[in-house]
C-alpha cells in the first residue's frame, strides 16, 4: 500500500469535490460521445493529464473491460486521490446523468412526444460526431511526424470503416504489428 501511496500525485487543486464536479460536467455534457468532453476538461482546461498520457490511458482502456470513459475516470481519480478519488470520479461521471436519463427516459416512454425532439437530436448527433473526429485529430497531432504512426492510424480507420471489422479484431490484428514496428524503430534510433 505504501508503494501505491508514493505513486500518487497529490495536487492542491484536485480535491475530491473538484473530481466529482468536473466528471459530472463531462457526464452531463457528453451526449453522443463523451470522449471529446473528457479531453477538453481533463487535458485542455484542467491539465490533469498530458496529451500523451491521455492517449496512453485511452489505449489501455480499450484492452480493459467496461466503458472506456469510466476507466479514464478511474485512472484520473486514483492518480490524484487513490481509491477514494477513483470512486468519486466514477460517481461524478455516472450519478447525475443517470438521474437525468432515468427521469427523462421514463417520461419519453410513457407520454407521446413531438416529432421536433427527433429533429433536435439529429442535429446534436451530427455535431457530436464532429467533436469526436476533432478530438481524434488533436490526439494525432503530436505524432504527425512519425510515418509509422500515421500509417497505423489510417489502417485502423480503414479496418473499421472499409473492411467493417469488429473493434476487437482490429486491436488484436494491428496492435502487435504496430508495437513491433515501434520496437524496431527505437532500436534503429539508438
Amino acid at each position: 500500500m505504501s508503494q501505491m501511496a508514493n505513486k500518487m500525485n497529490f495536487r492542491e487543486d484536485v480535491t475530491l469535490g473538484a473530481l466529482f464536479l468536473e466528471f459530472a460536467k463531462i457526464g452531463l455534457c457528453g451526449v453522443g460521445s463523451m470522449l471529446a468532453w473528457v479531453h477538453r476538461v481533463i487535458v485542455d482546461r484542467r491539465h490533469w493529464m498530458s496529451e500523451a498520457e491521455f492517449v496512453e490511458t485511452l489505449s489501455l482502456s480499450q484492452f480493459l473491460p467496461g466503458p472506456e470513459i469510466a476507466n479514464i475516470s478511474i485512472y484520473v481519480g486514483s492518480k490524484f486521490r487513490g481509491p477514494t478519488g477513483a470512486i468519486t470520479a466514477l460517481l461524478g461521471l455516472t450519478a447525475a446523468p443517470l438521474v437525468v436519463g432515468l427521469v427523462l427516459g421514463t417520461l419519453y416512454l410513457r407520454y407521446p412526444h413531438p416529432a421536433v425532439i427527433q429533429k433536435v437530436l439529429g442535429g446534436i448527433s451530427a455535431a457530436a460526431a464532429g467533436l469526436l473526429i476533432a478530438t481524434g485529430i488533436k490526439m494525432l497531432m503530436p505524432h504527425r511526424r512519425r510515418a509509422a504512426a500515421l500509417f497505423f492510424a489510417a489502417l485502423a480507420f480503414a479496418g473499421i470503416i472499409f473492411a467493417k471489422l469488429p473493434l476487437l479484431t482490429v486491436l488484436v490484428g494491428l496492435v502487435p504489428l504496430s508495437i513491433a514496428v515501434a520496437g524496431v524503430m527505437s532500436l534503429r534510433a539508438e
Partner: protein, 177 residues
Amino acid sequence: MSSPPAPVTFAAQIALLSLISFGGIPSVLPDIHNLVVVTKGWATDREFADFYAIAQAMPGLPMILMMSLIGWKVGGLAGALASAVATCGPSSAVAFVAFRLGDRFRDASWQRIVRRGLVPVTVGIVIASGYVLARAADNGWQAAAITGAAAGLILGTRISPLWILIAAGAIGGLGLL
C-alpha cells in the same frame, strides 16, 4: 429450489458480463438481449430497441442508462440502481488494479515502446468512431456540413463545444436538416 428474484438474476448476469466486456458493453449486448428478451421475456424487442435509442440520446454513459432502464422494468428503482452498479462496478475494479500495475512499470523502456505502438491504433479507432457516428446521424449534405463545421470550430477556435451542440440542435429543430 426456488430461483432468485428477477432483479437479482439480472444484476448478477450483467456483473458477470461487465467483466468480459472488452471494448465496452456494446460487445456483450447480444448476450444481454438474449437474456432479457429471448430467455426471460422481461422486455419485448420493441422495448429493448427503445431503451437503446433513449440511452444513446441522453447524456452520460449510454450502456449504464440502458441497463438501468431494463433494471427499472425488472425491479423498480432498486432494480435500476443495482443494474447501474453491476454494469460498471466489476469492470472498474479490474481497471483500477490494471492502472496500478501499469503505473509500477511506467518508466520501463518496453512500456514506452508498447505505448508508441498502441497510440496510433487508438487514434485511428477514435476517428473511425466519429465517422460511424456521423454516418448514423446522416441526413444528407446538411448533416455532413454540420459535422464538418463542428470539427472545424473545435480545431480552429476556442468556442465551447456546448454552444456548438446547442446551435446544431437548434438547426435540427428548425427542420433545416
